[in-house]
Structure formats: C-alpha cells, structure tokens
Amino acid sequence: MASVTLSEAEKVYIVHGVQEDLRVDGRGCEDYRCVEVETDVVSNTSGSARVKLGHTDILVGVKAEMGTPKLEKPNEGYLEFFVDCSASATPEFEGRGGDDLGTEIANTLYRIFNNKSSVDLKTLCISPREHCWVLYVDVLLLECGGNLFDAISIAVKAALFNTRVRVLEDEEGSKDIELSDDPYDCIRLSVENVPCIVTLCKIGYRHVVDATLQEEACSLASLLVSVTSKGVVTCMRKVGKGSLDPESIFEMMETGKRVGKVLHASLQSVVHKEESLGPKRQKVGFLG
C-alpha cells in the first residue's frame, strides 16, 4: 500500500484530532470526502465506471465474454476480478511491486461477492451446462490517496450497474446461438444487493471512516466491512499489524452498517441521476 512517512509530532497531532472529532481537513470521524462518479467512460467495454475520492482515482471496466459454467453451478454465470495497481499511482508499484496489493484486493472482491444474493448469476446463464456469460471485472488504480477498498467497491458497483450484456437467443434443441436482432436488447444486472466495502481505521481510541494516506500511517489496525444497501454485513476482514478488542470490533461494525447504508443511498441516487440525463449528458472522461 502506498504510504507516507510522518514525524512523531504530526502523528500525535492527527491522533489527538481524531479524539476530538476534528480531522486535519475539518471532517468528522464519519464523514467521507467528496466523491465523483462517472459511468460509461470506456467505450469498448460492456460497462465501466470511474470514481474519484479525494486523491484516489479508480477505473473499472467490465467485459462480458462467453464461457462454460462451473461444474458445481451449471445454471449460473460468474464474475472474475483482476486488479492492476499501475505504477503511475505511486512509485512503489513499479514493476511487480503492485502485485501483492492487487491480489489482496482481488481476493477481497471475490469474498464479498461469494454469496447467493449479491448478484443474480442466473441471469448470466445462456444454456445450462454449456454456455454462460462470464463478466471480467478489471480494476485499474490510477492514483492512490488512501481508502482504496471503499473507492474500488463503489466503482465496481457503478460499473456493474452500467453493464449491458447482449441478449442471446438459442433455438430449442439446436446448438446454435444467435444474437437477437435488436442491438439495444440487453440484460442489465440488478445491483441492489451488491455490497460496498467500508474501511474503518482505528486511530487512538476512536475509529475513522475514509482515512487519507496520512491517517492510515497513524492507524495500526483497520476493519473492512462489506455492507449491502439494506445494512446486511456480507463479509468482514481485519487488516494491519495491530490488534482490535471485541468491543471496538462491534462498535466499528455498527458504524460500518450505518455509514454503508448512507453510502449506498448516495450512490444509487447519483447513478440513477446520471442515467436519467440520457445521451445528452456531457461526458467529462479523462480530459475534462
């Protein structure tokens, strides 16, 4: 993970500030930085999204390809995640430096989607035991400014919302599969139950949401909580070399659920607003 070195006095300042609920940039412990979300930024994907959270910049592209279903789940398609920590995010990711972080994030994404209700995989099935849609979700880290997991999960949810998979018709009995005639005939995934990750960093005796790189340097332990829009926790993971005692884990989980619900509500309203603007929407993209 990208890190900054801080002097002891700076760390003390940050820790005392968190105790008094006034962080360095004036936020409270449960406030997020301003988030910018834009979907449909990459034209040759089935769905894409770009999320900017402070200095953190994430780009997600979803490509749908035909594949064979897994043996134990013949009626469903599946998702494959790949995270690329590009060297332009921070010099530490040069060469193979970003691979560890990339696999860690990809494994976390697999875990949070590894349940029946996150995404309805049956809609991705074309013909049982033979063909299904495989959604390859590629995450690209453009800039690293703290709180990677949250930003990535928001971007993945927005990209899945934006994903349009072509409808295929297969005639009964024959093995032929044809595209439907209407080019705009698409399956849209329901992302209502897709969870988002809320990272809670323990700093001093309190915990903060959406930590910057400096705050992450002061925190010894963090809890990643994956929450759905209804406040259901699908997965929880502790990172960091410090320890957390059970009461603080419980408190952090409650905060995570509360913050997660608000996060989902904001994201829903933004992506629906963007969709309602339709093709007239002025695309900002990368050069705006």
Binding site: T5, L6, S7, E8, A9, E10, V12, Y13, H16, G17, Q19, E20, L22, R23, V24, D25, G26, R27, G28, E30, D31, Y32, R33, C34, V35, E36, V37, E38, K52, V209, R258, V259, V262, L263, S266, L267, S269, V270, K273, E274, Q282, V284, G288
Partner: protein, 324 residues
C-alpha cells in the same frame, strides 16, 4: 455523518483576471518564441534552425535582451537564501538527506546543525553516532539553503533568526555576536530558532505558487502560524505561547492542541488548498483574505468545488481592491 456523491463537472478555463492588460505569453515545448536572433537565450530555451524554441511549458519572460521561459509546474530549484521545509529521508555518516521536492535530495550537514543547548564546538565522533537522536527519518525541519552543488543538489543549514544571520558553526573564522563559548557550562543565550518542527499540518503545493517575500515565517492574526517554504512545502502550526528557550528544541511539544487552534489550522489548510487549486499565488495576505472569506462556511465544505470558487473569487476581488 456526511456523504456527498456527485457527477464530475468539466473544468472551466480560469477566467482572465479583472483589469489585466498584459496577456501572458504561454508556450509549450517546441513552440517558437521569436525568430529575431538578437536576443540572448536564457533558461528553458534552445536555439534550433535559427529560431529560439522553448524547451519547457511556461510563460516567456523578457528582460532587456534576455529571453527565458519560466516553467509553470516544476520541481523546486534551489537558490541560496531560500527558506525550505523538508523531511528527513536518510541518516548518513555526517549528514542527513532531506526531501525538499527538488530533483535531488537536499543535504543537511551535521556541522550545519545547531546542537542542543547551543554548544559551539567541533563535531566529534560521538556526535556522529548520536545523529539519529537529533533527527530521524520522517522528521520535518525548516532550514535555509546554504549552497547549491553543481548537479543541482541543495545544501541546507539551520538558521538563527534571533540574530538575523546564519550561525555557520563549521566556519570558525566568522565572528558571531555575543557568543562567548565557555568550556565549563552550557551557554544560556537565547537559542537559535527551533528548526525541528513539532505538531502541525504539512501542505504540499507547487513551488511556483509560493511568492518570494522578505520573510517566510508568518504569525497570522487568526491564531496560527505558517511557514511558506520556497520549495512548496507549507507548514501550519499553532502559534507557540511564548518563545521557548529550551535546549535545542529537539524535544517536540506533544501536548494536545486546543480545539479552537485545530479549527483555525484546518481552515487554513483548506484555504491554502483552494487557493492552489485555483492557481493563485500564496503569500500571507492572500492566505489571510481567503481565511476571512471562508469564515461563513463550515471547514469541511471549503473543499467543495463551488464553494472553493466562490471563496477564491472573493479573495481575488479583495486583493485587487487592495492593490488598485
């Protein structure tokens, strides 16, 4: 708790400042500046095909017969006498390597450093071994540029502001006022300005946005102090109650800062970031006006794009009124 998500908005080109008569001549690398061969070429230009061509992206400056291009965004280029704020990256044999946002790490020699207690003596082998006790990796210091090496690396020294001149302890030939080294006890004269920085907030901006002024240490009337490093590192810290005369200042004050001071510091930090985003020069007056313009808003709202624009517009107006 606050959560705001929005759609991105395309950046508007910065409107021309009101009342500007002269337009800046902006060039990109490869642009022809002039075909007149009577000019001397300065930094950022080269001669090619009998034309003067720019090699960096920036604005053209003309002084009599000298043409140079001043880059808009560049790393810090050291000049003797600049005040910089730096972070220690390495502890080497007789010196520290300091990161100052320039092309090479700057160097702080052990001999250029004030010893705790204000002793004046030659640095011994024990001092070398105790270097990490003075400054460790990650510590922040404020220092002055003493010399610039031929490869562009910068040599720093910590300065005594009390006396208004540098205390260059490695050079015994220089006379120093009132320093009578005594061999029996620690000197009790007022200590040199504490160069190791204690609690506060560091903001990193582009060096070209820090205006050159007579002094870079400001005690703002709003209740915090600011060091505007020429290298773009800006240090905001609570104003010390009284000028402490502790030994060397290597023991940082780690007591909790009061909530009122914290609010001032956070507000100043956000104001500086909004000024930088709108490409305004940073100096004590602009920061102060921006602070006053931001008072009606909550601290965390200052970073929202529309409020940032509003505050900086008001600051710009006030500065123009003050000039004209």
């Amino acid at each position: 708790m606050a959560m705001e998500m929005r759609l991105p908005v395309a950046r508007k080109p910065l409107s021309e400042r009101l009342g500007r008569d002269t337009k800046k001549h902006l060039v990109v690398p490869g642009d022809t500046i002039t075909t007149d061969t009577g000019f001397m070429r300065g930094h950022g230009t080269y001669m090619g095909e009998e034309k003067l061509i720019a090699s960096v992206a920036g604005s053209v400056e003309r002084v009599n017969k000298l043409i140079c291009v001043k880059a808009l965004k560049t790393r810090y280029i050291g000049e003797v006498g600049d005040i910089v704020v730096g972070r220690i990256t390495e502890v080497q044999q007789k010196r520290w390597k300091v990161e100052t946002n320039s092309r090479l790490d700057s160097v702080l020699l052990l001999s250029s450093m004030n010893l705790p207690g204000g002793e004046l003596r030659r640095r011994s082998a024990e001092d070398e071994l105790a270097m990490r006790g003075f400054l460790q990796e990650g510590d922040l210091i404020s220092a002055e540029v003493q010399a610039v090496f031929s490869d562009g690396a910068v040599s720093l020294h910590t300065r005594s502001l009390k006396y208004g001149k540098d205390v260059d302890l490695s050079c015994p030939a220089r006379t120093r006022h009132g320093f009578a080294p005594s061999s029996t006890h620690l000197l009790t004269y007022p200590e040199a300005h504490i160069s190791q920085l204690g609690q506060g907030v560091l903001v990193q901006v582009s060096p070209s946005l820090v205006k050159r002024q007579k002094t870079h240490f400001h005690d703002l009337p709003c209740g915090a102090s600011v060091i505007l490093g020429n290298n773009g590192f800006i240090w905001i810290y609570p104003t010390p109650e009284h000028k402490e005369e502790e030994a060397g200042g290597f023991i940082a004050n780690l007591e909790p800062v009061s909530l009122a001071d914290r609010e001032v510091i956070s507000r100043l930090r956000n104001c500086i970031i909004s000024l930088v985003t709108q490409r305004m020069m940073l100096y004590d007056t602009s920061i102060l006006y921006c602070y006053e313009a931001s008072l009606p808003h909550q601290i965390k709202d200052i970073l929202k794009p529309e409020i940032m624009e509003e505050i900086v517009m008001e600051t710009r107006q006030r500065l123009l009124e003050q000039e004209g």
